[in-house]
């Protein structure tokens, strides 16, 4: 093979190859920072296409007006033929409407309340679980973690429907309680706030446990020995050492539960009462039932703004935490 190349006139590229070896792309890439740009670029383009662009479209629609047309909203920018100018009509009515009609404020504050209480319960149930897993033997640890992740193998929707079967008037829980003789009349469990809390806590508990576990598992146990050595009893040592050191895990877990819980749509729709709506339900009703895209969009923007705040806070907290570790 090489002979056919070298036969007769020598290929100049081949001569270069013989003399200098294969081209060093790595050097070129290193010199031109291509690798770094590529690594940042891929998620950057992804976010641009599938987050920023849709967001801008929603933002645009939120300033628009309803129209019986296809699409069902008035264009924001119009070419006025007579004046030969581009006319932009920004309509703030949708946002004003959110403030005047108390449905939105009510449902939003209700959503925040449900999400906050659910997050608190997730924390109270999840912290001991995460702690126990982090302190168990390495072999048991993977078993427990597997069990925590196991529900994700079943569809989320299916699991919420399963709760309907458990909670309904002639459901398993009522049957069992009446069978034992604790109650005579079936309890109203389904379509109540209680059912919504159960659904949210059940569904989001793993999102609390996993970051907490990741944090607690890294703790240096000699710190607790040092605390005991200095006279701190186990509970005091937990409160002064373990708990403060697990705050990043608590914050991460709480945000992972709180943020999606505020906009939760499926759980309150299936388990909650029809007169206590959550903001996610309102949004979808505006969009699909009322076909009021501008109001739906402004609701979406409002939720985003009210949720962006905690995200930004979280980011700052994490950065400070990272800066704190060496």
């Amino acid at each position: 093979m090489a002979n056919s190349l070298t036969a007769g006139r020598l290929n100049p590229l081949y001569v270069l190859l013989l003399r200098y070896g294969p081209p060093r792309w790595s050097n070129y890439i290193r010199e031109h920072w291509l690798g770094q740009r590529l690594v940042i670029g891929i998620p950057f383009v992804w976010l641009l296409l599938f987050f920023v662009a849709p967001f801008l479209i929603v933002l645009k629609i939120s300033f628009s007006e309803v129209q019986l047309a296809m699409p069902p909203y008035a264009p924001l920018f119009e070419w006025a033929a007579e004046t030969k100018r581009l006319v932009a009509t920004f309509n703030l009515d949708n946002y004003l409407f959110l403030l005047t009609d108390d449905l939105y404020v009510r449902t939003f504050s209700y959503s925040v309340k449900v999400a906050a209480i659910s997050t608190l319960f997730c924390l109270l149930i999840g912290y001991p679980m995460a702690y126990a897993i982090a302190r168990s033997s390495p072999t048991m640890r993977s078993v427990w973690l597997m069990l925590i992740i196991l529900p994700f193998w079943t569809s989320f929707l299916l699991r919420v429907y399963a709760w309907v079967g458990l909670l309904k008037t002639d459901g398993l829980i009522n049957q069992a309680l009446m069978g034992v003789g604790l109650i005579n009349e079936p309890l109203t469990l389904l379509y109540t706030d209680f059912a919504v809390y159960i659904g949210i806590v059940y569904s989001y508990l793993p999102f609390m446990i996993l970051p907490l576990y990741a944090n607690l598992e890294k703790h240096d146990l000699t710190l607790l020995e040092a605390a005991a050595d200095l006279g701190a009893k186990p509970i005091k040592a937990f409160l002064t050492i373990t708990l403060p050191l697990s705050i990043p895990g608590i914050v991460a877990g709480s945000l992972l539960v709180f943020i999606p819980a505020v906009g939760e749509y499926v759980i309150p729709s299936l388990l909650g009462s029809s007169d206590q709506l959550m903001i996610g339900r309102v949004l979808s009703d505006e969009f699909f039932s009322n076909r009021d895209w501008p109001v739906a969009s402004s609701v979406a923007i409002a939720i985003l703004l009210l949720l962006v705040l905690p995200i930004v806070l979280f980011q700052r907290f994490q950065n400070r935490e990272l800066a704190g570790q060496k």
Partner: protein, 379 residues
């Protein structure tokens, strides 16, 4: 042990032999089938620096952790100041520990770390602040009150750990490899700081270390551990000059060990026939261990003389060829191959800047030593 001729103990550090502070009685610790500490009995006097010295896995840290209360002995008793510690949890013991990793609380400042122990005692805020301030002045960290541990250097962290362990004025301080994480220069300086501090505060120190130099510098007494057992207890000079076993002789410093046969065993002298040096070793003191036919003769490298001329003695010498010379600055190490083929290590201090007539490679030399230098070991 200390009645043997040797180096005197440090005057300020003289432990009060009448006042036993810690008593370890037949303590055994098993982890499953593994025996980490095997039937150790030990007394530690008030005000001394006792070093537990041994290689990794010899059980020295386990013994220390049992004193602190982090492990419970499988068998035996530990008494501190006359009190049985069996049912006393770590937080109730009159003992503080300085951890090998320092175990500083990363979320607390230097001040908070040091104050932690006092805050458990419900002292008033002003008293806590005053005592923390004093302690941080002692360890020269007064300017670093508000720093977090990760903003400190290794040496500073070590001093915070020391201050934190001393703040409760314990009578007994346990130190797990206290200088292990420091570089050599800092370690040497800190060794003397530790001794000064110990003398000033009158605290009893139990130090765990694998570094024999550290043990020699710090300790008033050393307990050498091997495979869970204490193999010898004594002052640094006892341990070095009168090792009781082959293991100790080999572990502490370097040593030349020759196998031999006991041919004369009298109360005031011993003769050993050593094929390794093709001759007889005469030792001008009796040996305490039960005489067995097979013994080992141990001679420290610095106790051997090296000359070109044959010494005018009939015993305690050996002929060989210089195979290797290592110049170490303060001393030179010669590796001499004896006629029998065994290698002998000799060190000579470099007292002169340039000696004209230095012994060189491949020269034939005679090694000799004083009759008091060899130690005869039965096992």
């Amino acid at each position: 042990m200390s009645d043997q001729p040797g180096v005197a103990t440090r005057p300020g550090q003289a432990a009060d032999p009448a006042r036993e502070y810690v008593r370890i009685e037949g303590v055994t610790k098993k982890f499953g089938d593994f025996v980490a500490v095997d039937n150790v009995s030990l007394s530690i006097m008030k005000g001394e620096i006792f070093c537990l010295l041994g290689g990794s896995g010899c059980g020295k840290t386990t013994l220390l952790r049992m004193l602190a209360g982090f492990e419970r002995p499988t068998q035996g008793r530990i008494l501190i100041d006359g009190q049985d510690m069996a049912d006393t949890p770590p937080y109730a013991r009159p003992v503080n520990m300085m951890f090998q990793s320092y175990a500083l609380f990363p979320h607390m400042s230097v001040e908070q770390n040091v104050a932690f122990g006092l805050e458990q005692e419900r002292l008033s805020g002003t008293e806590v602040r005053q005592r923390v301030g004093e302690m941080l002045d002692i360890v020269q960290l007064g300017d670093f009150l508000k720093r977090k541990p990760h903003q400190l250097s290794g040496g500073q962290r070590q001093r915070v750990a020391l201050a934190r362990a001393l703040i409760k004025r314990p009578k007994l301080l346990l130190l797990d490899e206290p200088l292990g994480a420091l570089d050599k220069k800092l370690r040497e300086r800190t060794q003397f700081e530790l001794i000064n501090l110990q003398e000033r505060l009158g605290v009893t120190f139990i130090v765990v270390t694998h570094d024999q130099e550290e043990a020699m510098t710090l300790a008033s007494r050393i307990g050498v551990m091997d495979r869970g057992e204490i193999v010898q207890i004594g002052t640094p000079s006892d341990i070095y000059e009168y090792p009781s076993s082959k293991f100790v002789a080999d572990f502490i410093g370097s040593v030349n060990m020759f196998e031999g046969k006991l041919i004369e065993d009298e109360p005031d002298h011993v003769r050993v026939d050593c094929p390794d040096i093709s001759g007889v070793v005469y030792v001008n003191h009796g040996i305490s261990s039960a005489p067995t036919a097979k013994v080992w003769v141990a001679i420290r490298p610095e106790k051997i003389d090296i000359e070109r001329e044959m010494p005018s003695v009939s015993e305690n010498f050996c002929r060989g060829t210089v195979k290797e010379i290592a110049y170490m600055g303060d001393k030179s190490v010669f590796l001499v191959k004896a006629d029998s083929g065994s290698m002998i290590r000799v060190t000579l201090p470099n007292t002169e800047r340039h000696a004209e007539d230095r012994i060189s490679w491949d020269e034939t030399v005679y090694l000799s030593w004083h009759a008091s230098s060899p130690v005869v070991l039965a096992q």
